[in-house]
Symmetry: C2
Subunit: 203 residues, 2 copies
Amino acid sequence: MPKQVDHRERREAIARALWRVVERRGIAHVTMREVAREAGVTHGALQHYFTSRQAMLSFAMDFASEQASLRVGHGLQELGDRPHPREVLRLMLTEMLPLHADARATSRMSAAYVLEALHDEEIHARAHSGLAQGRSLVEQLVRQAITDGYIPRDRDPVIESNLLLALTGFTAFIELNVIEAQDVLTAIDAHLDRLFTKTGQAG
Amino acid sequence: MPKQVDHRERREAIARALWRVVERRGIAHVTMREVAREAGVTHGALQHYFTSRQAMLSFAMDFASEQASLRVGHGLQELGDRPHPREVLRLMLTEMLPLHADARATSRMSAAYVLEALHDEEIHARAHSGLAQGRSLVEQLVRQAITDGYIPRDRDPVIESNLLLALTGFTAFIELNVIEAQDVLTAIDAHLDRLFTKTGQAG
């Protein structure tokens, strides 16, 4: 189905153009016209791929989440066959932070999407569902790590998952050069070390 | 100096109008014209108080920070004469989160300001300095609590301050109803309990 592949590829190219507008100029500049200009297509051609700004934004957000998941997937492959759950969580958390160029693009897209969500019901529903999915994935990993004896059994999986997710709060401090990348990683490692205090023999 | 007081009061009323635009419609709608409309003044009158959108935004951000500090100040008074450092930090952290209407207005203003900072050098410098000041204040409290024997001496004050600040990451999860306010407070308390493990007899 070459036509469909082409359609998808063009939508992805437009999504990347949208990310660049968000990253360089901010969400306020994300209009159909501005994204068409950045993508090098006509306004009419853009409307062929997206019927509204909202549809375009949501596709760009979904695509950003997919790319972040792919990066985590590649990172997991490098961790080998049976990665330690601490390393899996570390990878997920650090890929959510603007610590390198690709992650910065998706992080800014995500921050802008959350702000849009506050004023748009449909985007709110989609952003809620994306964050809630991420939250459950983290909680599932934490529960499994407790079952497998990596995290002490007296830890509450809901509290621990919420505290791990809160670490995404480093985003603004990294973006505004208030906390250095190395200090962020040191703090995340300290937090993970206090959570994963056991060696993984269940029981 | 009644004239200066009046000038200040009018600027504050405009700043509050700007917050309402940010809260209800988002930073993209913050233009001189829109804020003038929301404040119920003419565009010309607005320009008498602020020469540019940037100046107006920065004043509104400074005013938001001041109001947050005032709320923390009132909270401290309620804690009595010699408040426990754990409670001081808890108050500062929770007032930074959108857990009630006033805090939500300042939190949204602050999130919007950080996004603007990514595309504006002057706002970047001001936002950096605001966050860096907040960061030093937290570090100063943590260092004092270690000295006074509330936090164990083997804790690294830089790591602990950074982890406390990262808790502002709950903002998006609260705004999008992914984590309930009560669960956020439970997680913050769990984090503080693990930090303040001593009774405060120095030495």
